[in-house]
Symmetry: D2
Subunit: 477 residues, 4 copies
């Protein structure tokens, strides 16, 4: 089977030499830079899940396109309600453990449907090209990251109406391919993947047709540069209490520069068909938001477990307001997960063969849980106590003179040592009171689209006229 | 096919002569009393849905138990995920139109599973009896109402520890059957159904074993008396603007007295097996709360349509805060419906052959939407304006001298006549500012269990230990 | 002292013969009609408060304008921070007991300031006229009701642009006075007061100058007709359990028709000065919304007491979720009351001599508590249980045959008889599940202005530029 | 006048040599350590406010105790409603600009009232001693920090029942004074103040009488050691865009060790009078929570300004959902501030001469705004966009090769340069997505007491029986 272990995968990645900047400096030996390790680690875990005895039955699936097993998360073409359901279940299972499972199969499905529609309308042959590309990814077990978000410049003006032409656009087109220039922002994982998959992020008018572009290319293609924001790190790398999640699975966030990058035609999936640009965010808005809905259920599970643990460590019994607050988290996770599954049930087949979950349920459920992200962080503060922002650091604890005092006075429930309590408090601190908290909130609130987009999409897909009709009947008019 | 039209069904009902009190007076000619008509009307609609071209495909289903088509809502034994899904879809479809579809099939499923478990544990034969009874209901297309809620007296004491013995209990047992005495409260539909189905409402201890009783009998069984609370009525019956829903589909609520009622053994489904009493509310808490979750999605759709209509009638464009508030209602409906569907997906088979939806998703989703009921009523006030509580009555409007003034001054958008506007305002008044509002809120907040029960059930079914384990791993302890 | 007892006041009212319609019929003997009694009762209570030993110190105040004691609620010209504070305290004290204290002194203050400004700008003499009128009201201890809300017709068009000319307007002006025609809606108390005080409800343009009109006249002025919506009544007037508040203090809501009513100049307080129209709702938006904020604190106290009582009657101990929900109500009442007091502190003197509470605090605090009205009703359902919508009526309880059963089975805590429990459940029903509930919600949500108006006003009065300046400093730009 | 400028004050501080540990290392030259500079800076600002032309009228007040002007924030004995009001206004004014104004005068008032009560009950003379100490602080313009929070160890057990004796306690008592041992946690400002003021944090039983201790001593008293957690810093100190607030005004949080510290009697304010311990948190719960309520209004103002600025920088017009969300922040700030002022109005005189604001309003208002802290951070993410967690660092921007791209593509509204936009985005990042966010949330959620304490206090001070009485009257029982 083609699925690579983490070790193989990361070994293979080293074939590539992407151009990467971190904090203003070009990185010489990309794959050795410690600031990329947690991302590589997370990417690797996505491979190891395929070999996890508990998860492999759901994490690996036979994909007819290549007649081989593939990782469901990364490569499954979702063709049935069951595909949609299984994906949702896998998302929650993984995200409650490690925040992100990198659900790239969503991107494949979005491209699948959007290229198919473009071909129908424009008599082009993007779909076939894309299918070949998808097979290539599957056969090699290659991952790609998602270059979707264009900078918008002045939001009251279109791309082309601005002198700066923010966004990624085609600047040249010839018999061999196209050349693109510009920037994509909020490109998570960025250089730590194998391939770049670029798509438009919004509806476009004809004037903006050069911004209607989609393609897939290797991350070390000439002219591509990554400005990478490293995951939150420990201030003192030797302190293993601090920042456990960030250092293990914190993923880089990035800005991706396309400095006149050439794309051969066989990797171009949209080229100036401006009227089709909105289809990419549309398919994103149901397929990917359904995943995000379940993803945030998983984050809520994680917060729930941390909350229950810190309450126990603090010696607070599971009753009264503590129990109520933890129950609230449970119910929030179940509600979001319920919606993600419900979106699968209420889906429909796209004529291209992709199964599309319900846009209105996916967006409603996602907005529900998204809008609770701040409150969830707040609950962690509330349950853990003020000490998460005032406590001594691990360096203090490492000083034997201070340790003596801290061991005695910062103890909690006698089920745990003081060191164990400090470890748990540091974990809460990371999730609720650190730079990592910012990422945690960002993944909830703006990743997969800001809250207002969810409102707009639901409004567009809810059959209000039907309900007005019912009201008219009751009013007798 | 055995399914009866509304006409047939109501004709058949007249064979019975239940003992009914309304406002303290015994009713002589039950089926002619105008205060029962809206309930009969609603009951009839449940039959007509089986003949509705748009709904019959989902509303009617072939039931293997009797090898005949049955009404899904009333008689389907839910055996598969698809059964669970179709039921949810039908619920929302119907409740957005007429508040309640009387989902009795849930009760059949609850009895099915609970009697099966009782037999397994106690070596009894309740399940077989119940199956025969279920077939009898199906073959005759008979409905039954649900006698579940016992009065609790002093909630800090058990039934048997109270002198008054609140609740329904067995007072005699012999070779022919049992005799029961007591009261069940909150018995919606009550006398307007064919049969009574009684079950315990809570876990019991051995001291309370006489309260562990379940059975099914005709509504006119000797000793059964109904104290019926009529649906909200018009003050002036000739005014068709006022109270359109209550007069058409308002259902009676009731208190059912069992004055030493004899039940033959073939209709007894639980008799003193006190340890099994909690199974009835348990199965209720997943099967029926899933339905209620979708039911409240339907109510939210109804509120949404009314809100959009009254805004239009008032001449307020669909933008800004009005649009946002209506969008909120849409998203609430979609979220609740998503959870009801999600509960179906995350269900499991009970060994008795019943498909059980997820308890934690059903309860979380239901609590979500239940807790918004007050706010939804508030939004209707907000959108419609203060006039819904201050406007002239239809009697005023019928006075030509006043009508002249009202037609001119109470007009709204010129898309509607003043009369049409008044009709719509009266509809909002009924839902948000009338006695009917109380019922509307009651069906949301306490029907199918109070909010706290949903919290408790979710807490019991959520795997918190697993999440604490994940947190411990991250904390490194 | 001029303050009249309830008896004197109602006796005096009988001097008048207003033209009143109820349910389409003109009322012959107005003051004997049972449907007006609860309003008269409430009006009377406002007088008796002046003689209440516990409240008179705050309820009665020496008014320099007439050098006599007046009722603070009805006649105080609020000139100091202390006036503003005392009013707020009195409001909560009264509204927690009987919903409404009829805070007419607010209207006097609004007119005081608005007429003063009009004179300053237009060199008119409305203020002096108004002061004379105010003295007349004070000296005779006359109440007036507030005719503010014009019907708007099609909200996207101005009054004058609509053929129907919704709203109250001047149709004639001569040396003796003006003649007005039109309708005012949502006129609470209406005919049960002594005088009508009419004011504009929104900003006007020059085209709408005829709608810029304010005046004060007796309720039985020729051409004035009231269409009165009676307060919620008992279905069976002999049942004293049902509808206790509505029958005692439910106030009429009304629509007031001005069929070419002549107003002599000495009672005209605005006449076509269209640019001043917005000052009336502006002063309303601080002075009256401050009162409403405290008023809803009082309603919340009332709900809080009812909630605690029904929990006790039901035998539910004051702990866990019940205690938390009641605590929530307490905190809501305190927060709203705090804001009403805070608005007093952050007020300023108007050059006319009126003390103006903070617009932004009054509106923010009011919107806070207003938006909780639906949830508060919901909490009452939650705490009391489903029985409030399903229980037997008092007529059932009066039937000895049924009473026997009900006494035994509907008992609650043994601290109360069953009859006492039923009385409390009926009280909850009235507030949370009856026609009265609609009024209760209406007084919260739309009385004193809809929620969106509170948002707009706060936005206008909050110094956002100052805070943007601070942000710029921190950003270093 | 005795008030010192920031320069004088910090110069004076250098007379002291407190024992300070940061990250496990003892600091040699305390006052030169860069990690303490932002705290010193903030402390200095509190002095400079006394010389600020716009604020000095409210910030400086004549204090009769010493017959000299003092800083209202630090040294005013609050004796009147006006004191309470002015303090609240000053708090909001300062906190909206720089997060914290160090309202020490609250601590003086708490000690004032608590020592007075102790003397009344125990015939001691703590109050007189305390008054002398207060004069000493005022005359020298000395600040002190607040050592209140004891570690609790296992919360289900009392201090004395635990082997570790968590908390600060008296271990010796002789004719000259007492000796204390233990730890206080969450000691903000810590070593950067002049004096330590220690008080109990909870009610105690007789067994815990040794934990009933209060005193005031210099920060460099023998045996006192500070474990200091530095304020959030820039990763690259030369980058002025990053972390502007933390580096300017971020205050240290600390743990304070008392390694057998001797306190002479004239500085002891409570010694084993265990029954009085609860008075300290009680006075804290009204005086200090009132300040905190206004403090969080100020933080909300700050968030509001930042939100409006970033929306503008992003080129998003002030309308629709953006305007609504910013309006929400405005209303939250006004509501909280309203409550803080309202608490002043509803206060009462303590017999010791201190004015006590309303406990129930202060706690209700504080809980209201406290519970919105997470949502406010969320709104900043929502309004600013995902870019705050994915954008390039200032180091990237400083690289000319990258700057060229970033200047072009990360531009926003043309009212701002790209650099200005990046500065604003960094400010949002600091408040909503950085380590500083943790502190920001901590100051809201747990500083001045966790949310549950606010609920408990309100419950204790709300007159529920009165409202139950009103409900009983309405129910007629």
């Amino acid at each position: 089977m083609a699925i690579k272990t983490s070790k193989q995968y990361i070994e293979d990645l080293k074939e590539l030499s992407p151009s990467v900047f971190i904090r203003g400096q070009k990185i010489d030996n990309v794959w050795k830079d410690p600031r990329l390790q947690s991302t590589l680690n997370l990417v690797g875990m996505n491979h190891d899940t395929a070999f996890d005895p508990e998860l492999k039955d759901i994490a690996v699936v036979h994909e007819p396109l290549v007649d081989e097993p593939v990782k469901r998360f990364q490569h499954r073409i979702q063709r049935t309600m069951d595909d949609s359901i299984q994906k949702v279940k896998l998302v929650r299972e993984v995200t409650q453990q490690r925040i992100c499972g990198w659900c790239l199969s969503n991107t494949l499905c979005i491209l699948w449907a959007a290229t198919w529609e473009t071909d129908q309308k424009h008599d082009t042959s993007y779909h076939e090209r894309f299918v070949e590309y998808a097979k290539y990814l599957m056969k090699n077990d290659y991952d790609c990251f998602w270059c979707m978000m264009d900078p918008k410049g002045d939001r009251s003006k279109s791309f082309s109406a601005q002198e700066t032409k923010p966004g990624l656009r085609i600047i040249k087109k010839d018999s061999k391919g196209i050349t693109v220039r510009g920037v994509k922002v909020s490109t998570s994982y960025a250089c730590c993947s194998r391939e770049i998959m670029a798509v438009p992020c919004k509806a476009l008018t004809e004037d903006d047709k050069d911004f209607a572009v989609s393609f897939g290319i290797p991350v070390d293609t000439k002219g591509v540069h990554f400005i990478v924001r490293e995951a939150p790190q420990r201030e003192n790398p030797e302190n293993d209490m601090e920042c456990p999640m960030g250092t293990a699975i914190g993923m880089v966030e990035g800005t991706t520069i396309f400095d006149d990058v050439f794309i051969p035609w066989d990797r171009v999936f949209l080229c100036q068909e401006w009227d089709m640009a909105e289809r990419f965010p549309y398919f994103f808005a149901n397929i990917h938001r359904q995943s995000k809905c379940s993803c945030l259920a998983g984050h809520t599970d994680l917060a729930c477990g941390i909350a229950a643990l810190v309450a126990d460590v603090n010696g607070i019994p599971f009753k009264g307001h503590i129990r109520d607050k933890i129950t609230r988290l449970m119910m929030e996770a179940e509600t979001a997960h319920g919606c993600a599954l419900g979106a699968a049930v209420d889906g429909h087949m796209h004529p291209s063969g992709i199964y599309i979950p319900s846009t209105s349920i996916a967006n409603s459920g996602l907005n529900y849980i998204k809008n609770l992200a701040g409150e969830q962080v707040q609950l962690l503060h509330d349950i853990a106590g003020g000490i998460i922002v005032t406590m001594p650091t691990q360096d203090d604890y490492n000083n034997p003179e201070l340790k003596k005092w801290l061991d005695q006075y910062l103890c909690g429930s006698d089920k745990y040592t003081t060191e164990e309590r400090l470890r748990v408090l540091h974990l809460v601190q990371e999730v609720a009171a650190s730079k990592f908290t910012g990422n945690f909130l960002g993944w909830a609130i703006n990743a997969a689209g800001s809250p207002i987009t969810g409102e707009i999409l639901t409004r567009e897909h809810y059959d209000l006229q039907k309900r007005i009709g019912i009201a008219k009947q009751w009013a007798g008019i």
